[in-house]
Symmetry: C2
DNA sequence: TAGTGGTCTAGACCACTCA
DNA sequence: GAGTGGTCTAGACCACTAT
């Protein structure tokens, strides 16, 4: 049990919201008043209330005061761990197999995403991620070698492209798209599942500042679930 | 452009990480030192650095100091809006159709999730969510009427069960599971798609304090994508 | 225009943990 | 034991916006 003041106050405020003391959409007393009630500095109360606001539970406006959010933001935070960790968490042994690795001129859709010039080549990779030697996920990736030239010297025998990038590129922002798809022939073969099976896919593009690094699509073995909490 | 001190400092720190000034896994100067460098109070620098830590970009430990995270947490925050809003964002007109509504004794798996006694009934609902009169998502839901008795009096003609719950229950925590599935006969009929199509599903259970409220499974029309950013 | 949250400061003490 | 982040305070000024 964490028992800082701001944590405890946050919990107390949350309880008062849950109990209905402050109804949905209703106004909550001001910071000064509550700080006096809790016997703390306004700064401390502010931190607790700000935390609730960041979670979308209350809406705050200068002069307008703080209100209980009438429709709390349903925001789920999903962890996207390294595939190796994901596999090892299930107790299985991780492995990976690079099925394809070549320099190619990408199709227009990818070229645009990676912000490449026409006819400029990029590194194209197919990787099968294994859990106890059974296919766990199939990865199709394009890497912008202009941004990450060192990647050309990597054998990817010990660590996967996925992991190499995470551990080599300082910090990158990115877009993610989750979807469900019926697998095509190539993917079904790589995953060892019947064609048409429903697979969970994650399509991710990352960049560093203004420089595009990589775009990747990952198809998980049927039965895969992405868990989270609200 | 937001230009508070802590926001600006956070951005500056992030830039210094990206630039490689502080390498992956490397140690960052202490708060006191950086505060002096930026000419601000330690509190302000602390807030900026804490924000980076919350995003998983740096790892902080007392005495150990602050280090650039060697493998930044890949954490995506996904918004789970009301279905109505989700539909309206696409420019379509929202509608919903309650296909089934009855009090039933739930199967054991659901009974356990809702924490009900054996033979205790719960409200069972089938709802089809429509976008311009075309099925957009199919919802199967169980509601614990002991926790939310008022729901029995609701007609759900104007607003959907989904929305009624969001607007009536103060705040709830919950679990969410995202998956991909080949639709079964009943769902394919409700969505008007061929049996076996890959659909994106969200399975969500919510509760208020220790009281379970509802558990729901939502199947989206094929082609649905959940977008997010890192 | 006045009230409310947003931010910042300077200083203090504490808790954790590395050496 | 000592260094570093975690937290708290009391007070101040500012920015936004409801009335």
């Amino acid at each position: 049990m964490t028992s800082n003041s701001h944590t405890a106050i946050r919990a107390s405020l949350l309880e008062r919201i849950r109990s209905g003391e402050w109804p949905l959409g209703g106004r909550i007393p001001g910071e000064a008043e509550l700080a006096a009630e809790y016997g703390c500095a306004r700064t401390t109360l502010n931190r607790a209330m700000r935390s609730l606001a960041e979670d979308g539970l209350v809406v705050r406006r200068r002069k307008g005061g703080t209100r209980v959010s009438p429709a709390p933001a349903r925001r789920a935070t999903v962890e996207i761990p390294l595939l190796r960790e994901q596999v090892e968490q299930t107790g299985a042994c991780y492995g990976h197999d690079v099925r394809k690795r070549e320099m190619l001129v990408p199709p227009p859709s990818i070229r645009q995403r990676l912000n490449l010039r026409p006819n400029q080549k990029a590194l194209f990779l197919h990787t099968v991620h294994l859990a106890d030697s059974v296919p766990f996920a199939f990865e199709v990736r394009w890497v912008n070698t202009k941004t990450v030239p060192q990647i050309m010297d990597e054998p990817f025998t010990d660590i996967s492209v996925n992991e190499w990038l995470v551990r080599s590129v300082p910090f990158s922002s990115g877009d993610v798209v989750f979807a469900a798809e019926n697998v095509d022939a190539g993917t079904s073969e790589a995953l060892g599942v019947p064609e048409g099976s429903a697979v969970f896919s994650i399509d991710r593009t990352t960049w560093l500042g203004d420089d595009f690094i990589t775009t990747m699509k990952l198809f998980y073995r049927p039965g895969f679930e992405l868990r989270s909490s609200l």
